[in-house]
Assembly symmetry: C2
Homo-oligomer: 375 residues x 2
Amino acid sequence: MSISPGSTTDRGLEGVVALESRICDIDGSVGHLVYAGYEIDDLARNSTFEDVVYLLWHGELPSRDARQDLSGQLRRTRTVPPSIVDLIDSAPSTASPMAVLRTAVSALGHEDAEVDDPSPEANRRKAIRLAARMPTIVAAISRAQAGKSPLAPHPDLSMAANFLYMLDGRVPGPKAERIFDACLILHAEHGLNASTFAGRVIAATMADMYGAITGAIAALKGPLHGGANLKVKEMLDEIRASGQDVEAYVMGKLARKERIMGFGHRVYKTIDPRATFLREMLSELSAEQGDMSWLDMSSTLMTVMGREKNLHPNVDFFSASVYALLGISGGLFTPIFAMSRVAGWSAHLLEQWDGNRLIRPRAAYVGPANRKISG
Amino acid sequence: MSISPGSTTDRGLEGVVALESRICDIDGSVGHLVYAGYEIDDLARNSTFEDVVYLLWHGELPSRDARQDLSGQLRRTRTVPPSIVDLIDSAPSTASPMAVLRTAVSALGHEDAEVDDPSPEANRRKAIRLAARMPTIVAAISRAQAGKSPLAPHPDLSMAANFLYMLDGRVPGPKAERIFDACLILHAEHGLNASTFAGRVIAATMADMYGAITGAIAALKGPLHGGANLKVKEMLDEIRASGQDVEAYVMGKLARKERIMGFGHRVYKTIDPRATFLREMLSELSAEQGDMSWLDMSSTLMTVMGREKNLHPNVDFFSASVYALLGISGGLFTPIFAMSRVAGWSAHLLEQWDGNRLIRPRAAYVGPANRKISG
C-alpha cells in the first residue's frame, strides 16, 4: 500500500477534521473556549456545573424547571451499588486512583439494567447516572486509599459541595463551593481531545456508554493528557521543600534545559482563558484563607516564564494551587478532571450516536512483503 | 471554524491514513490478509497461535529457542490473581461477558507492579501476561455464568488446548485443538480496525497497557464490531429451530429485505481469505464428528447468497459453525475474539509507543455562536 501525497501519516491526525460537533468551539490563536456558544468565562462566572452539564447535553442552558429536574435526578442517583464500594475497598492501595476509577466505572455497567439499550432516552438516563456517581466513586477511592470507609452522598448539596463533603465529612463554605464548582465547569469539556476522541471511537461501534467512558478514563490517565496539574503540584511542592527562591529555582531549571510544568498548550498560542479565571479564584481563595504562599509562588513563576520563554500558564498551572488550598491531595487531581469531563464525554457520545458512523482510519503498511513459512 | 474543502467530516476518517504500521497488510480488492509479510493462509496452515503472537510482537517468526522461551513464559503466567477470580464470581449473572472481561482486564492492571513502567521491556512483559491471562479470565467468566467455579490452567497444554480444557475440564483431541488454534490465528490481527485504533488513541497519551486493552475490549463489545459471529449463530439456530428449508428461509428473508448475517465485509470486496480456510476446517470437523448439519446449512446459505446477491461469506460466517461444533456457547464468541485479538492489539501498542505521538484530530464546530448568559 503506498502512501498518498498529502497523507497524514505519523502526524497524529493533527489538523484532520474527523467530525462535526455542536458542543465546543476552541480558537487557540485568540484564547477562546466556548461551550455551545457561551464563552467559558461567562459560564464560570454566571452558571453552575449542573447548568453546564445540561448545556453540554442539550445545547441550551436549562429553564428553571429543567434545572430543578436535572438537579433532583443527579442528587437522587448519587449512591453507588454496594458491589462498587467493595471493589474500591478491595483494590490494592498501590493501584493508581485513575486505574481504580476506570475499573469501577466499567463495573458500574454490570449493574445498569439499561446498559445495552441504545435508545437516546436510555443513554441520557445513563449519562445522568454516570455524572452523578463518578464523584461518589472518586471520593470513595480517596477515602479507601487513606484507610477510611466511604461517606454517603449528602442529598441537599450541589455536586461541587457534595464532592468536597464526601472527602472529609465537612460541608464546605460558600467560597470553596463556588470555586470548586467553577473548576468543574472549566474542565467539563475541551473539544476532540484524546480521551473524548477515544470515547467516540469506542462508541461508534455501538458499544455501551460505560465502555466508552471507561476507555476515555483510560486515555485521561496517560501522562500526556490528564496528569499535568499533578506534575505542577509536585513542582510547587519541590520548590517549597527546597526552601529555594522561586526565581532562582526557575532560572536553574531553564539553565539545565529542564521543563517547567503548567506552561504552554498544544491548542492555545496565547493565554488559556481558563488560566485567567483560575488566577482570579486563586487570589480570592488565598485572601480568604490568609495564605498567600501559593499565589505568590505562582505569580513569580508566571512572570519569569513570560519574561524568559514567552510562555503563558495553562489551566493546569493554577488549578494545582487552587486544589492545594482546597485541601485536595495531588492523587485526586486527575480523577477530579475525569468526574468533571464526564459531562463533555457523555455529550460527545450522545452526539456520536445521533447519526452514528464507524470511525476507522487506515494504516499504511510499511513492513516486509511476500514471506513464506515453507517454500 | 469553517470546514476546509476535501475535509473528512462525517466520513468516519474513511480512507484517511492515520499512521504507518509494520504489522498487518490488507488488500480487500484481491482478498489478501498478511501479518508481517506472511499470508494468513500460510500462517493458519503452518504455524501456531504462539508463533503468530511472537510474529506480531517482533516482526519475525520465532527461532526454536525463542518459541520455547515465549511458550514457557505464556504457560507460567496463565494463573490470574485471586482478586480477579472474586471479581468475576461476584459479577451479576446478567452482566455481558464482554463487560465483565473489560472490568477484569482493567482490574488486572491494579495488581501488576510494572503497570506504569513505560519501558519497552516492561511493556513486552505486560503483553505476555495479558495474552496469557485473558483466556483464563474468559474461561472463568464462562464457568461463573454457568454457576461453576473456575478451573486452574493446565501447564502442559498449548494456548488453544488449555482454553478448551478450562471450559469443561476435558483435554481436547488434536483435531479440535488444531482447528481452534487456527481460529485464534485468524482473529489475531486485522489492521487499524475500531478496537485497535481505540487502543492506539488511548496508548498515545502514554496511558498504561491495561487501560489501552480495556478500551479496545470496550470497542470490540460494540455490535458493529465484535458481535457478528454471534449474530450468525443466532440466525443458524433460528433456521434449525424453525425446521424450515434453508433456501426457503433465505429467499423469504431477502424478499422481506431483511439482512442475512455473515456476508460481505467493509474491507473485502472479494472472498475473505479467512472464510476460505475456515470452510475447510468446518468440513474436516464435521466429518470427524459425523455431524454434517452445520456444514450443509452453511453451504446452502453461501450458494444462495452468491447467486442472489453476489455476496461472499466473511470470517464470522464460518467461525459460528466451527465454534458450535467445538461446543462453545454463543456468549463466548466475542470474548474469544478478544483473547485472540489481544495479540494484535498489544503489537499495535508496542508499535505506537516506539516513536509515540498523540492522536488528536479536530472537530469542526457547527453549533451556535456569540451567546451570553446575561448582559
